[in-house]
Symmetry: C2
């Protein structure tokens, strides 16, 4: 009796593309947009602050999308994603927003993305954000498990660790020292070749006769 | 408050690619392989019969894959799939097998596929099949709903109707007259342009102010 098929679920920002808010902060020259959940613990407070900053600077969704349109996937990401998709059902689980991710996803070859939505007013200002589901990465991995997939997951930061824990095999990709030390149970990959090797070894172990 | 993001789930055979077993029957000249669930009600009996036929004719998995490798997606399917993936998270839900679908999925641009697995012996003979989960299409749609997606589903035959019923919006694509008459609750599309229009209208209705 062989194992269930493997499904690969991975984070987006920091794994395949740059951190979007940091890139927007740099491109717009608005340093306050660099704040992340490492600086402001409460995500709602952080997002409301970001939306207020955009409003104050008169930046619409189209302005932000223009900035994001200038970004590129990380070096090697396009080829690595293509290789994964040729071998496994592959889904990107992200806390970002469809309205932001669009241009970058196109450059990645339009893989399947589960994330969140922004709300705009008729003038194109971002007036609100809507999390599709709380701790969506974790719940998605559990849903794939319930559909009898063997789930391999990879991500780079705190908000990925519940999904790594829920997966059959979780991998940290380029984590901060703090995350690496706090979650020693997850193997670490610093490049796509290592990530690929860890996945290939896991799958080979799954398929080995027992 | 906007609606949840739309996820599109579609069947594979008859929608984007030819019926695989029928194509294999034609390419190998083994007419008994044309039998489908329309002829043999019991899927397990049907599959065991197919595997016995392959064995009798000495056809290995590699032989079948070679035949499937000569097939092409239906005309227009590649462009239609690319267009859907640029707009929505998109997942193909199929009762086929990863080992069969591979070459055709590559031609479709490697969309995410949820399906089943075949078991081979060391000589490459197909010795068993493993359904990942019973009524997998239906359970997948329900899982996407539980993750707070608005689900649009399309398929062509009986084994799609439970997923069409589970979706927020279900569409029959090129159904047989029998299926069409038995399931009048689902709108019908005979081509990709109509399927696209039905989806676009549904999404517009979702986003309209109420």
């Amino acid at each position: 009796m062989p194992n269930n098929p493997v499904l690969v679920a991975m984070d987006l920002e920091g794994v395949f593309v740059p951190e979007i808010w940091i890139a927007v902060a740099e491109a717009t020259g608005i340093p306050e947009l660099r704040l992340t959940t490492r600086d402001v613990n409460d995500y709602d407070q952080l997002m409301r602050g970001r939306l207020a900053i955009l409003r104050r600077h008169g930046l619409t969704l189209a302005d932000i999308q223009r900035v994001i349109g200038t970004l590129s996937p990380l070096p090697g990401a396009v080829e690595f994603v293509a290789g994964l998709r040729a071998r496994f059902p592959f889904i990107i689980l992200s806390d970002t927003y469809y309205e932001f991710a669009g241009p970058l996803m196109a450059k990645l070859g339009s893989p399947t993305l589960f994330c969140n939505s922004l709300e705009t007013d008729p003038a194109g200002n971002v007036v609100d954000y809507h999390l599709r589901i709380r701790d969506g990465k974790f719940h998605s991995v559990n849903a794939f498990r319930a559909l009898n997939f063997t789930v391999v997951a990879a991500g780079d930061s705190y908000n990925d660790t519940t999904m790594l824990g829920a997966a059959h095999f979780g991998i940290l990709f380029r984590p901060s020292d703090k995350v690496r030390q706090e979650f020693p149970q997850f193997p670490v990959a610093e490049d796509y070749a290592t990530l690929d090797r860890l996945i290939t070894e896991f799958v080979a172990g799954q398929n080995a006769p027992r």
